[in-house]
Subunit: 102 residues, 2 copies
Amino acid sequence: MEIKSAITGLSALANDTRLAAFRLLVQAGPAGMAAGELARRLAVRPNTLTAALTILSHAELVTARRAGRSVIYAARYETMRALLAFMTENCCANSLPDAPGA
Amino acid sequence: MEIKSAITGLSALANDTRLAAFRLLVQAGPAGMAAGELARRLAVRPNTLTAALTILSHAELVTARRAGRSVIYAARYETMRALLAFMTENCCANSLPDAPGA
DNA sequence: TCCATTTTTCGAGAATATATGAAATATTGA
DNA sequence: TCAATATTTCATATATTCTCGAAAAATGGA
């Protein structure tokens, strides 16, 4: 993962609504969750949630698929895994395992 | 780590200058690096770097100590470790190990 | 087709973030 | 004390982010 992608991912998750939405989607698993259901659980307006999901989607942290009238969103685990790997490898170098400054 | 701290940390790292500064500090190890040296390597103005370091410091991702005329900054590995742990546990639930959606 | 449901798009405004020049502060040594 | 070095603070201008109401678009069923 490149720095640019990492910052996009970090930015996407660095927001209450988006982080909460992503966590719910992770819990929901591959089956995902409808946008409306997400909005209800997070107590945010539909259009606000759409904005949040658009940003998460642009960061490739979620996918969207239509099912009837609903749009089902699901977490993209691979991207999250790549982001965590980047942070561990590039930001923690080989420092964290030994914890020299902890 | 609480959600609030996680978002503070994610926000702090979600910026080119700050992420680059943090990476340099991680590479520098516990010895840290002077603000001026960081500014030179990152090719940013001193006051811009101060702003970046202030945000990282507020997120408890770096520490500062004065050494003569210089101020030495160092990465706080413990906070970074806690942030990664939070992201792994709370955002990836138990999903990532099995990679059901990858 | 008509209507209800679900989600998205649009436009606007408030709030926040970012980078800057200039000035101020802290430290050292002559 | 004075000057040089290193960093921070301040005020500001620009840019971006965030949320919202209203309207539009997509879908399914009567």
